[in-house]
Symmetry: C2
Subunit: 541 residues, 2 copies
């Protein structure tokens, strides 16, 4: 059996090494266009920022090490320029000699990845991207002497890039066409990331677009000129599917190669994995692009199993992702509220702001967590979190619960490891379960931050149940202060009509809402409390 | 409705506050024998160590604050001395006045907790325990001027206590009857904890028992005398079920109150929660004692739902627990290998030693992870981990996977949040899935650390596939060195017969075993590699 693998990074190299472990006798050829195989893509920004100090640390394997250990025939700087699915061969160009040759295969794996999108702007050829080691070398060179930089795009990579430019003392502006950073997250969950960036000196231009790139600056659509010794494009990636497309393989609506659950393309004996394929979404079952390293690595290993005849099935994708930026962590899994809304899918929202560990143990820091739930089935549709330590843990637990089909309410039952430095006796994840259960059973009703203006305009009385000190430090316009501990006696002071209750994070509001409801009032709690409202409105105003 | 709750800490107070939110009209009386309600049990050792500096931080609520917010009638220093299940009343003694009175109830919740076990030794009355705030005050007083301490028992609390005594510069000895610390964990997973304790100056006497306590020392069964200005008993707890027992309620074989899935005792209108009850084990379905704060809090809230007529069901217990000790974290969920072995239940074992985050990102530290799997069903039976950052996350993910019924092999599919500072593209949890799948499909066979002496004795050839440098630094006696990268060419040097392959952590061994198997050899990989073997044998020798 001769297996040719096109692309030698995450997916391709996982496929090659797994296949060798399964089939010692197979001939395995890996064709990689770039200079390097199996490098640490996700480490590139951190090398530029000096967090990873040695360039060698990025290079996890070499063709030589892979030949030695796995008897792989790895050819770097060899680009596949044509694919003949019927004749089962690829045409390969040796980029150094210019020589072209034909390589036949019994089975072919396409792991060509995705390329950074570069919009056709005047002067854009000066802009750099960050996808491989050659890119990182170019950026590193441009960084020498650079005092200013513009990063275009405030997605995960753009934000990481900005953080690392600041680490290098480069005055950095991030230009983002959208109205928030981190498009996969909802506005109120992304807002703390924007605030953190600004606090660390990043200039953030939201709702802004580039019109041209000049020698040492860029121009925005409002004609402002931003100094930019260095311009980095990080507006997204598109699947490198041209080879497959030209060979007549089926391409999806997102531009990725269409594969089935066994990673088979529309052509026999041709498989595809990683950023170049369209994946099946875990929530909707529909095709989507998920250019994430974990999925690529998983599919790489899996395609080797498929080729070896093992009964492997590619699971649907939740698109779990995480970002560290300065002292903040933001993470997401599944669908966001805006995506659910755009798809017209019903959902229930929960916000909370729990401490990462017991409040009485030192350095307890609050995080913000959001859960999206199917109101009909109690299924978890997505989760987001932003904060410090423990954000990664909670998103991983929620991603696992989602994968395991644990209903939102049953998050209360999870037995998570508790000691005061690691969590709380009622862990933040358990608390989400309690909240979801209260909503499911109707024990509590909640309203979202973007709904309260309408409520107040139509006559609801906003009651801030926090302390007078908290109230004085800032509250929702039009609210009266009635501290929770006095509410039982003073509820009569609230005029007739619906009552909008809120506190700082939603928990005292929950108690107050339950109390008022039992006193016969039409009360509703502001989900996530003043804090979610403040994060969200600060972001949109 | 009048509800009386006996015990005002984790379970009792969760019940009281939840019940108030559900039933504003209920009369709720909380009777607490001690001086304080709702204190931070799990924080007590850290207050003694000075990590938590203010005593007030331990006191989460007072009777006054609970009356104000939740209209609870909380009576501290009121002990329930008798229970009449038929007449539905309790006899209460006011510990200050000595007065006794009868309190009737419609519904009763017993949340009396568990008491520290103190063995009947000469002089033992000088020994202190650590269960409540009064205990902590006594220990704090005894600590003034103490230069030496003996902690009896190396369970979670004993180890935490020892760590915090060292923080106070007290020369500390831990005396443990068993042959390892942390009995819920397996010997090779507990061994790094013992090493960490010793490295930080704790004297650890395993397999040792106290015979007497004297004025400033204790005597061990081998007649050695250990200086001990302070003696702390932490050998375990027993349910405080005397009140229930005397009232004729059904008591289980472990001494805890028997309750059903709705936390009902054998007597109508009487419920019990927390450390005093026997819980249903998630793996076996049998009764067991799980004196953990998370379970107590969860049951407390749940019993309020039951009393309020909501359809709440108490889930089975996995006994997830965690310990931080100096720079190490150890955690467990589900069953251990020794427990499975003792129960005669078939199981499969996996060890790995992954980095907590990408190896190329700074400060990547290896942890040890162990997974126990049902060989017939691929069900996860238990997991343990020991290491630094990220141990808590992996155990929580595994506990969640277990709760969600995710089979061990499918851990490979979990989409966990990956950026290089948080994990790996193939997360440690995914790797466990790959390993479990290899075992399940027979792609690999492994042998455990305690099985290799027999293998070698019966003629297997031990081959260390690490580098010559690693081999020279220490290997398994009798092994020959044949580095993985040379194995393909030099496999013929291994004499005929079975081959026991090992590397440092098991991964190169996996590749080598696959290679040898495909070359027609009878090869088996040492699970967890040299590192598991070394941890385990250092612990038992």
């Amino acid at each position: 059996m001769k297996v040719v693998i096109v692309g030698g990074v995450a997916g391709g190299m996982s496929a090659a090494t797994r296949l060798r472990r399964l089939r010692e006798s197979a001939e395995i050829v890996v064709l990689e266009r770039g200079d390097h195989v199996s490098f640490a893509n996700c480490g590139l920004p951190y090398y530029l920022g000096g967090v990873i100090q040695k360039r060698e640390a990025l290079l996890l394997q070499t063709p030589e090490s892979l030949a030695e250990r796995f008897r792989l025939d790895v050819r770097v700087r060899h680009e596949v320029v044509a694919l003949d699915p019927v004749g089962r061969s690829v045409t390969v160009r040796d980029l150094d000699s210019g020589r072209e040759y034909v390589e036949s295969f019994d089975e072919l794996v396409l792991s060509t990845g995705a390329a950074a999108i570069v919009p056709p702007l005047p002067g854009v050829e000066r802009a750099l991207v960050l996808r491989d080691v050659a890119d990182v070398d170019r950026v590193a060179e441009a960084l020498g002497g650079a005092r200013s930089a513009v990063v275009v795009g405030a997605g995960f990579i753009g934000v990481e890039m900005a953080e690392n430019l600041v680490r290098r003392q480069v005055s950095t502006t991030v230009v983002e066409r959208g109205t928030q950073v981190l498009a996969p997250m909802d506005v109120e969950m992304a807002a703390p990331v924007a605030a953190e960036m600004r606090e660390h000196g990043v200039r953030l231009e939201l709702g802004a677009e580039l019109t041209r790139v000049d020698a040492d600056s860029v121009t925005l659509s409002d004609r402002r000129v931003i100094p930019a010794d260095l311009v980095v494009m990080a507006i997204g990636v598109r699947p490198e599917s041209a080879l497959a497309r030209e060979a007549g393989l089926e391409i999806g609506s997102g531009g990725g190669i269409v594969v089935d659950e066994r990673l088979r393309t529309s052509a026999p004996h041709i498989y595809a994995v990683g950023d170049v394929v369209e994946k099946r979404d875990a929530v909707s079952g529909q095709s989507m692009l998920v250019p994430l390293a974990n999925a690529a690595n998983r599919q790489g290993r899996l395609v080797a199993d498929v080729i070896a005849g093992l009964p492997a099935i590619d699971p649907p994708a939740q698109a779990t992702a995480i970002l560290g930026v300065f002292d903040l962590t933001a993470a997401t899994t599944g669908w966001s509220e805006k995506r659910l809304r755009a798809a017209g899918r019903p959902f229930r929202v929960l916000h909370s702001h729990p401490f990462a560990h017991a409040g009485y143990y030192p350095d307890a820091r609050a995080m913000s967590v959001k859960l999206l739930v199917d109101p009909a089935t109690d299924e978890i549709l997505g989760a987001q979190a932003v904060g410090g330590d423990g954000v990664d843990k909670r998103i991983d637990v929620l991603a696992t619960a989602m994968a395991g089909g644990i209903p939102a309410s049953r998050l209360m039952d999870l037995e998570l490891a508790y000691a005061p430095q690691f969590g709380s006796a009622k862990d933040p994840v358990n608390m989400l379960g309690y909240m979801a259960d209260n909503l499911r059973t109707g024990a509590i009703r909640t309203v979202q931050w973007h709904e309260i203006d309408d409520m107040i305009a139509t006559g609801a009385h906003a009651v801030d149940v926090r302390s007078p000190e908290e109230f004085a430090a800032g509250s929702i316009p039009g609210a009266r202060n009635l501290p929770l501990d006095e509410l039982r006696d003073r509820a009569g002071e609230i005029p007739a009509g619906p009552v909008l209750v809120f506190c700082q994070v939603g928990q005292r509001g929950n108690t107050a809402t339950r109390l008022l409801t039992q006193l016969g009032r039409d009360a509703i709690n502001l989900d996530g409390g003043y804090r979610t409202w403040r994060d969200a409105t600060a972001a949109v105003r």
